[in-house]
C-alpha cells in the first residue's frame, strides 16, 4: 500500500522531471514543422519543411555556422593542449604549491564570461598597440580574439577532464619507457598520449560544445566573424521564425545521433572485450538471433540504425512532399472563420440596433437618426462584400439558410457585389 504510493510518486516525479527537461525541446521541434510563420506548436496547421529550406537559404545563419565551426576547431586545439599542459603541471608541481596552482588555474571558470570577453579585447588591443600594429593586424582579428577569449576558460574545463584521467596514470609507465631507452618525447607520445586519448576526446567534445554555445565572451570579440549564437541573438531582436526552431531541431538530432553512436561503440567494445576474455567469438557471447557483427547484443547500435533509417525516410518525404494544398486549405478555413466571426459581429450589432429601435419606437419611431444606426451596420458588410469577390455563390446561399440569414438581408451584401 505504502509501497505503491511511493512507486507512483517516483513515476510522477520522473514524468515531471522529463517533461521539464525535454518538454521545451519537443515543443520547439514541433514548431519547426508547423506552417505558421510565428513558431508555435498549436494549433497544428500544416506539416511543412519549408523552414528547413528557409534556414539553408539564410546566408547569415550559414555564415554563422561556418564561423562557429572555425572557432570551435581553434578552441579545441588551443584549449585541449593548454588543458593537457595544465593537468600535467598539476601532477608534477611541488605538492605545497598544488592547491594554490589549482585555484589559479580554475579561476577563469568562476569569472563571468563578459569580464573575460572585455579583458581579452582590452589586453590584445594593448599588445597590438605596443607592437605598433594597425587595426587590421592578426592580433585584432575576430577569429583569433574569439578563440583566445573562449579558450581562457574552456581550457580550465579541459584541464578538469584531463586531470581526472591523469590521476589514474601510473608514472612508473613513463619511467619504464625511459628505462627501455625512450626519450622523454617518445615516452610522452607512445605511452602517455595513448593513455589520455579517451579523456582528450571528451575534452575536445566538451571544448567544442562550450565554444559553440558561448555568447557572453564572444559578443565582445567576434569582430567580423559573427558566430551562430551571435547571429541568432541578432535575429531574435527582429522577431524569430520557425527557421530557428528548424536549426535547433537539427542540432538536437545531431546530438542524439552522436550520443547513440558513442553508446553503440562503447557497447561494442565491451562485447569484444568480454569475448576476448572468454576466448570466444563475438557471436558466442550473445546467443539467439544472429545479427551482423556490429549489432550483436548492442541495443544502442540497433536504435542508431532505426533512427538513421527514420531520418532518411523523413528527408525522402520532405523532398517530394508539398504542403501547398494543405496551406491553401488552411487559408480557406481561416477565411471562412473570419467571415463567420464578422457575421456574428454584424448579427450582434443588428440585434443591438433592433433592440434600440424597439425602445426608440415607444418614444419616437420616426426619428431620422435611427437610419444612421442601420447605415452603420451595413457599412462594414459592404466592405466585406468587396473583399470577398472570389467567394463561391453557394457559400452565400448556405449563409442564407442559417438561422441568422433571415434576420437581416444577406442578399443585400451579395447585391452590393453584383
Amino acid at each position: 500500500m505504502n509501497n505503491s504510493i511511493i512507486r507512483i510518486s517516483i513515476w510522477v516525479y520522473l514524468a515531471i522531471f522529463f517533461i521539464y527537461l525535454l518538454g521545451p525541446l519537443v515543443i520547439m521541434s514541433i514548431t519547426a514543422f508547423n506552417s505558421p510563420s510565428f513558431p508555435r506548436a498549436t494549433p497544428w496547421e500544416c506539416l511543412t519543411f519549408e523552414w528547413f529550406s528557409a534556414l539553408f537559404q539564410d546566408e547569415r545563419i550559414l555564415n554563422g555556422i561556418k564561423n562557429s565551426i572555425l572557432v570551435g576547431i581553434g578552441t579545441i586545439i588551443l584549449s585541449v593542449s593548454m588543458g593537457l599542459a595544465g593537468a600535467l603541471m598539476l601532477t608534477q608541481i611541488w605538492p605545497k604549491l598544488r592547491a594554490t596552482y589549482y585555484t589559479i588555474i580554475i579561476a577563469p571558470i568562476l569569472i563571468p564570461g563578459v569580464v573575460l570577453g572585455i579583458s581579452t579585447l582590452v589586453f590584445w588591443d594593448r599588445i597590438n598597440r605596443m607592437l605598433g600594429l594597425g587595426a587590421d593586424s592578426f592580433l585584432s582579428n575576430g577569429l583569433f580574439l574569439t578563440i583566445i577569449g573562449q579558450s581562457t576558460f574552456i581550457a580550465s574545463y579541459c584541464m578538469l577532464v584531463l586531470v581526472a584521467r591523469l590521476q589514474r596514470y601510473d608514472l612508473a609507465l613513463t619511467e619504464a619507457a625511459l628505462d627501455l631507452g625512450a626519450t622523454h618525447a617518445q615516452a610522452f607520445r607512445k605511452i602517455l598520449l595513448p593513455f589520455m586519448r579517451p579523456a582528450l576526446a571528451s575534452a575536445a567534445v566538451l571544448a567544442f560544445l562550450a565554444s559553440f554555445e558561448n555568447y557572453n565572451t564572444t559578443t565582445f570579440t567576434f569582430g567580423e566573424y559573427p558566430t551562430l549564437t551571435i547571429e541568432l541573438a541578432q535575429k531574435v531582436r527582429y522577431g524569430i521564425t520557425p527557421a530557428i526552431s528548424a536549426l535547433a531541431f537539427m542540432i538536437v538530432v545531431l546530438t542524439v545521433f552522436a550520443a547513440l553512436f558513442n553508446e553503440a561503440n562503447i557497447k561494442r567494445k565491451e562485447v569484444i572485450a568480454k569475448a576476448r576474455k572468454e576466448g570466444a567469438t563475438v557471436g558466442d557471447v550473445t546467443s539467439g538471433v544472429k545479427l551482423p557483427g556490429f549489432f550483436t547484443g548492442n541495443a544502442a547500435a540497433i536504435t542508431l540504425v532505426v533512427f538513421a533509417v527514420a531520418t532518411i525516410a523523413v528527408i525522402g518525404t520532405a523532398t517530394v512532399y508539398s504542403p501547398k494544398q494543405c496551406i491553401a486549405n488552411v487559408q480557406e478555413q481561416k477565411r471562412l472563420e473570419t467571415q463567420k466571426r464578422i457575421q456574428e459581429l454584424r448579427d450582434q450589432r443588428k440585434r443591438d440596433a433592433e433592440a434600440a429601435g424597439q425602445a426608440g419606437g415607444a418614444t419616437g419611431a420616426a426619428k431620422p437618426s435611427n437610419n444612421s444606426g442601420f447605415g452603420g451596420v451595413f457599412a462594414p458588410g459592404t466592405l466585406q462584400g468587396g473583399d470577398q469577390g472570389t467567394a463561391p455563390a453557394d457559400d452565400a446561399g448556405s449563409s442564407n439558410n442559417s438561422g441568422f440569414g433571415g434576420v437581416f438581408a444577406p442578399n443585400n451584401i451579395n447585391g452590393a457585389d453584383n
Binding site: D170, A172, L173, E175, A176, A177, L178, D179, L180, G181, A182, T183, Q186, K190, I191, P194, F195, R276, K277
Partner: protein, 370 residues
Amino acid sequence: MSAGVGVDLENLWIRFGDFVAVRDANVHIKGGDFFSFLGPSGCGKTTILRAVSGFLEPSEGNVLIGGNNMKGIGPNKRPTALIFQNLALFPLMKVWENISFSMEIAGASAKERRKRADELLDMIALSDQGDKLPSELSGGQRQRVAIARALCAEPDVLLLDEPLSALDLKLRQHMRTELREIQKRVGITFIYITHDQGEALTMSDDIAVMRAGVIDQIGDGKTIYNDPATAFAASFVGENNVFRGKVLEVNGNEALIRTNRSGDLRSRISTANLGKLAVGDDAMMFIRPEALDLAPTGTKGENFVTAQVTHEEFEGNTFNIFMEGDGGKEIKVAIPNHGQSFDDHTGQAMTLEYEVDNAVAVPAGELAAE
C-alpha cells in the same frame, strides 16, 4: 662467470631533504652475479635501485656500471633494465608490443619486433599469448612478460624490485627457480630487491642486508645466515633466539657471556666482530631454534640453558617448544619429527643444550622488528 658487467656503489649517499635514505653504501657487485638487497620495508632498497637505473641522482658518491661512472647519464642511456615493483606493463599495448617496446624505440620494423618477441615468449613459456593484453594475463604470466620486456632491451644489468611480492606463495616459489634459471641462461648481472629472506637465500650469489639506509653486511647466503655481522642481520635473516648480556671473557674466537637470565653461556664470536668484542661490552648471543637440543633436566654448563616451557606446537616437520626468554622474547626450540613420541612439557622447566660453534655473539644492537 665474470663475463657480465659489474656494478659498484662508492660512498653512496641519498638524501630527501633532511632525511637520509641511503647512508654511505659501498657495494661491489661482480659481473654475472645474482645479487640481492635484503631489508625490511622502507629501508631504502628501491632508492638504491633507482640510483643504479638513473632515475635518482645520488646526493654524494658514485654509481659505476662496468667501471664507467654513470654521473649525469639518464636512465634511457644506461645499460640497465628495471623491473618495477608493480611491473608497469603498458596497459594499452599487446603482450608482444610490450615485450618489443625497446626495439620500437630503436626503430626496428614490426616484423623484426614480432620475431624477437616470439622468441622471448617461447623462452618464458607464453608462446601463444602474444596477442593478449596484459590485463588478460594471470599474475605470474604478467611477471614473466615484464622480465621478457626487460631482457628484450638486452641490458647488461637487470634490476628487479620485489617482482614476486604480488604473487601467492606457490607461484612465488616457482618463480624463484625460474628467475634463477633465466639468470643462468642469459648470464647477465641481476640485482634483486626483496624483503623476503627466503627469496634472497635461495636465489642469490651474494646478499646485502640493509637496515634503515645502512648496509649491515654483504656476503653469500651461508655467511649471512651462519655468521651475521650485526644483531640486526642475525635477527632479520631467519629465525633466531637472542640472549642479551655482557662479555665476561674472550678467548680466541670464543666469548663467555653473562646473560641477563640464563647464566653464563659460551659462544663463537662472529667473524666480522673478531677482535672488536671486548670484555665488559654489551653483547647479544644468537642460537637458531634448530641448533638447540633437549638435555637431561637440570644439567649445568656453559652450553646449557634452563627455562620454563610456556607452550608447544606441532608444525609437521618439527615440534616447536617455546620457553620463557630474555626481555619478553621467547626461546624457540625446533625438534625434527622422526616419528618419535612427544610429551607435553607445558609449565615444566626444561634444559637445552647447544654446540658452542652454533651460537654466535655480536655487539648489542637493534633487532629486526618481528
